[in-house]
């Protein structure tokens, strides 16, 4: 890639876009054109997103079930999640996300288990409700859990098994909380549908079941933080030190009882806007609890987020403590940046991941002087790109219409007038609630924004930009590394991390430094590559 030497500005990428689109059949090209945007942070630009992936296009995306069972319910340890369907769906979601949890030495923890009704052909033909009933009963008899979740998979939806009815029946019979999710893989266009369905289910069946005051002066829910590689553990420590009661986390290192109690918090802090803003919205609508967008990826972002939370509670001591933590932690952050930056400054990164990470991690890269030349979401919506201001203008298509939108009514018994008042008062002082500006305003001019990137597009981007590192997922990792470009897994962190908070930022700086500066990339070409007289083509079947 050639940046303009004088301005250090990214090149206009229209030739790249053209090259990409040229390969596509015309209908595909037309559609994909709307999902590739050359960014200009000064103006409003629309990007097509949260629409169907074109069949045959190699995509990063997964399914609704993955978003529901895998992402949202995955990190909660004390619920038995029975996947109703053939074995595969449960198998693939078994321990493959790095949601850590700390159950202590004796706590309930079913996260290392995989439960399935393992539907067989006869069940598909004759219906599987009986089998599901029995499976729930067996799970109860063996484990005596307090909650059981039931997840409907593609064929279950098609044959018409009613997981909700079975759940209700078994809840009655066993007298524990049992509830279902209609999260068949074909719902929606990506994992995002599953997040929505999961949020709805948890809100309907769990949130609000327990009105006990969780205690403490400052009560917070942390939403959209999934404790990948121990991220939540880092944040929990800050809150503890600040004297903030973390009522619930959705859903890193979480338990069902946290969710039952979530409506008792004073504030919802939303990390991953895409996956969880539903809960925040519903909690405000039903209970009057306001929400703010925060971000703990990046040291500056962490400082800003902690300050914002502290400021909300309007407590001098809390604010002082917050500044103390920030000052203390920034020492290591700054020392590390100083060391690492000399080796990372000016390097280019790209990110295609999730519904928030592609945005959040740009800050983190930025802190060690790395620039994001291109980014996009795997399952984001327009508001994740362009900000919540476009929410009203998003057209509801057939795929979205299939996802239930809960009708939330104000809960008079548990309504927080105090918080409503607090919100108004703070807003008057310029404190922003329910705000998210999206990723695009934060990106540089001429950077390339791509939604639901395809394999073909990835190839062309690498050739064109020659990035120093790419952030994406496991399916992309080795493809990209074959080009000699390191790929940082931003779902699993390449089994590193934590990357949240100050501690996490330091980890990340160091890990990225290692990846982009490791010697091994220099060893890829064999020394005889440029000595053609040494290279023989031989039949080599015998080795």
């Amino acid at each position: 890639m050639s940046t303009d030497n004088k301005t250090n500005m990214f090149p206009d990428s229209s030739d790249l876009i053209e090259e990409i689109l040229n390969k596509y059949p015309s209908k595909v090209a037309k559609k994909r054109a709307k999902s590739l945007v050359t960014n200009d942070p000064e103006i409003d630009q629309e990007i097509q997103s949260n629409i169907r992936t074109i069949p045959g296009i190699i995509t990063q995306r997964g399914c609704c079930y993955a978003g529901c069972k895998g992402v949202i319910l995955g990190p909660t340890r004390d619920i038995i999640n029975i996947v109703h369907g053939p074995i595969g769906c449960s198998f693939y979601a078994w321990l493959t996300r790095r949601n850590q949890t700390d159950a202590g030495p004796d706590g309930e923890n079913y996260m290392n288990y995989c439960f399935s009704t393992d539907m067989q052909d006869t069940n598909i033909v004759f219906g599987g409700e009986k089998k599901l009933e029995e499976a729930i009963r067996e799970a109860y008899e063996i484990f005596k859990p307090h909650s059981i979740g039931v997840f409907s998979t593609c064929p279950i939806g098609l044959i018409g098994d009613d997981v909700h009815a079975v759940s209700r029946k078994m809840k009655e019979e066993l007298d524990i909380n049992i509830f279902g999710f209609s999260c068949e893989g074909y719902k929606g266009v990506s994992q995002s549908a599953g997040h929505h369905i999961a949020n709805n289910g948890i809100f309907k069946h769990v949130v609000g079941l327990n009105n006990t005051d969780p205690g403490g002066k400052f009560k917070l829910n942390l939403l959209g933080e999934y404790n990948i590689g121990g991220d939540s553990f880092v944040l929990e420590k800050y809150f503890e030190e600040m004297g903030i009661t973390l009522v619930s986390t959705f859903s890193g290192n979480s338990t069902m009882s946290q969710f039952e109690n979530a409506h008792m918090a004073d504030l919802n802090a939303v990390m991953c806007h895409r996956s969880i803003n539903y809960i925040a919205e519903m909690l405000e609508k039903k209970h009057g609890i306001p929400w703010i967008k925060i971000n703990f990826i990046g040291a500056d972002a962490t400082a800003k987020s902690l300050r914002k939370i502290a400021k909300y509670f309007e407590d001098e001591e809390l604010m002082a403590k917050t500044e103390e933590i920030i000052a203390r932690e920034m020492l290591e952050v700054q020392a590390t940046i100083e060391d690492v930056k000399s080796r990372t400054e000016g390097k280019l990164c790209m990110m295609y991941v999730g519904g928030s990470r592609a945005h959040h991690y740009q800050e983190l890269f930025g802190e060690i002087g790395m620039r994001t030349i291109s980014a996009g979401y795997e399952f984001g919506h327009r508001d994740d790109y362009e900000g919540r201001k476009v929410l009203d203008s998003i057209k509801i298509d057939a795929d979205s219409r299939n996802i239930e939108e809960l009708d939330i009514v104000k809960d008079e018994a548990n309504w927080r007038d105090d918080l409503v008042a607090k919100k108004t008062s703070l807003e008057d002082k310029g404190y922003g609630f329910s705000e998210y500006e999206g990723m695009m305003p934060d990106m540089e001019k001429n950077s390339l924004v791509i939604d639901d990137i395809s394999h073909w597009e990835t190839e062309k981007l690498i050739e064109y930009y020659k990035p120093d590192i790419i952030g994406a997922g496991i399916k992309e990792k080795y493809v990209i590394q074959k080009y000699g470009v390191p790929l940082k897994q931003l779902h699993s962190y390449d089994y590193g991390g934590p990357y949240a908070g100050f501690k996490g930022a330091v980890n990340f700086y160091n890990d990225i430094d290692k990846m982009v500066n490791t010697k091994i990339w220099g060893l890829i070409p064999p020394p005889w590559k440029n000595e053609p007289e040494l290279v023989a083509k031989m039949a080599d079947t015998a080795y």
Partner: protein
């Protein structure tokens, strides 16, 4: 304890599977398809299937695993996936330019009743399949069999849709490979070449899912059985199918379709299964057994005789797939080890019968189960009731191994937390040496770790 809710107390379960020892068909079909040169596997279902299967194979191989999907939506699920598939075929050939697309179905497309034959025919009629290019397919309903069944179905699909008989017989044999690692397929080729056999191996994932780092990505690496070789398989003089669960069906179909006689044998794991494989290969390919092969065998037997004191009587628990488990059990028995617990989620009465045959004479106390109810939770409960000295299975076994402090040999699919399986074979005599080396390392490491200071040994 990681699996802290698992107790000794075994309750009968009819409907709930806990910690399965199998997964579903399509991932097997996807893997088999990667063994054809220039092939893009295609998952006819919703995106999640394809994403999960690609992820599982990617984690196992730490290599690019490419596949496309029909990206079903709720609409396609109601109205059928024909238009999705035809559109996909068109897009794939245009954008990704494979030689062949290998389509497998999913429980979704199976439940709605999509007819792949008819859809592919329609795509062909509609000009969506370029001249000289191919689309093969198979039915892989996830609610029947297991991942092994899916592999078998895709291999049968190769035969059904590609093999042709011209009436002239080649002086070549078909080697149909069970679900093994690319290193194993490479090893089978090495052995067959050493014997001077003339053969076509299919599928062949070597040089596909173990591609070198070269600084440039090849969507279709140099490996894989070529389409001309697959077509010509119908003219070959005989077939040796190794790994019955995964290949016998294809061998039968090839015999039915093209009159190619076949032998189906177990995977050549350990001494005696490899002996049988080598002898069948020798007979079918009409080649001798060279001294080099005999010497490899002798080196394996040598190591066993040298190290028997560390092996004798050791109790082993295993889980995985029938094709691996059966010869592995035989190998363990030949080393005087005791395979006491064996589970496989893959159904089939033949497995039970074969294990009975192997185990009853010398390890009558062995418990084994496959198919319904045979999951890792049951295996773990058996272990809780009486311990073992070694656990063999895929990466999920590590939870049991850590909880129970059992040396753990990773074998099978998927291996998500170690490398090496794709580079070093476990088939053949050299593969037997590797298995044995690993078993000994595990047993001896534990001895080194747990022996008292007076008992700590320099020489072992």
């Amino acid at each position: 304890m990681l699996l802290r809710h698992t107790t000794k107390d075994i309750k009968e379960r009819k409907s709930l599977t806990i910690n399965p020892a199998k997964t579903c068909q399509p991932v097997g079909a996807m893997y088999a398809a990667l063994g054809i040169h220039g092939c893009l596997p295609h998952s006819h279902g919703s995106q999640g299937c394809c994403s999960y299967h690609r992820s599982a194979l990617t984690r196992h191989y730490k290599e690019p695993i490419m596949a496309a999907t029909s990206s079903f939506t709720e609409g396609s699920s109601v109205f059928g996936g024909q238009s999705n598939l035809i559109q996909a075929i068109d897009n794939i050939f245009t954008i990704y330019e494979p030689e062949v697309i290998a389509v497998h179905s999913t429980c979704l497309s199976e439940t709605i009743g999509d007819d792949l034959t008819q859809i592919v025919e329609k795509a062909r009629d509609g000009g969506k399949i370029p001249e000289g290019k191919h689309v093969i397919f198979c039915n892989t309903p996830s609610y029947i069999g297991s991942h092994v069944t899916g592999y078998s179905n895709m291999v049968s699909g190769m035969v059904k849709l590609l093999s042709k008989s011209t009436g002239v017989t080649n002086d070549k044999i078909n080697l149909i490979s069970g679900w093994v690692e690319p290193s194993d397929m490479r090893e089978v080729k090495r052995m067959a070449n050493l014997m001077g056999a003339n053969f076509t191996l299919f599928p062949d994932t070597s040089d596909v899912v173990d591609a070198p780092q070269t600084g440039s990505y090849e969507m279709y690496p140099k490996g894989g059985t070529t389409i001309p070789d697959l077509i010509a398989s119908g003219d070959n003089k005989a077939t040796l199918a190794f790994g019955k669960w995964a290949t016998e069906d294809a061998a039968i179909k090839l015999e039915n379709k093209c009159k190619v006689p076949f032998e189906a044998t177990e995977l050549p794991i350990g001494v005696r299964a490899t002996d049988r494989f080598i002898m069948e290969l020798s007979k079918l390919a009409e080649v001798g057994i060279p001294e080099a092969i005999t010497a490899e065998r002798g080196r394996l037997v040598d190591m066993i005789t040298d190290m028997q004191q560390y092996l004798h009587g050791k109790r082993v628990a295993l889980f995985g797939d029938p094709d691996q488990l059966i010869p592995l059990v035989e190998f363990l028995l030949d080393m005087n080890m005791k395979p006491v617990y064996i589970v496989s989620g893959t159904p089939g009465k033949k497995m039970h019968k074969r294990l009975e045959e192997l185990l009853l004479p010398t390890v009558p106390e062995a418990k084994f189960q496959n198919g319904k109810g045979a999951d890792m939770y049951l295996l773990h409960q058996w272990i809780k009731n009486e311990g073992v000295d070694l656990l063999i299975g895929n990466s999920y076994g590590k939870y049991i191994a850590r909880d129970e402090n059992i040396p753990f040999l990773r074998m099978g699919f998927p291996i998500l937390d170690r490398v090496g399986h794709s580079y070093f074979p476990t088939l053949g005599y050299m593969g037997g040496l590797r298995i044995l080396e690993k078993i000994l390392d595990l047993i001896m490491d534990k001895q080194d770790l747990e022996s008292s200071e007076p008992e700590f040994e320099l020489v072992m």
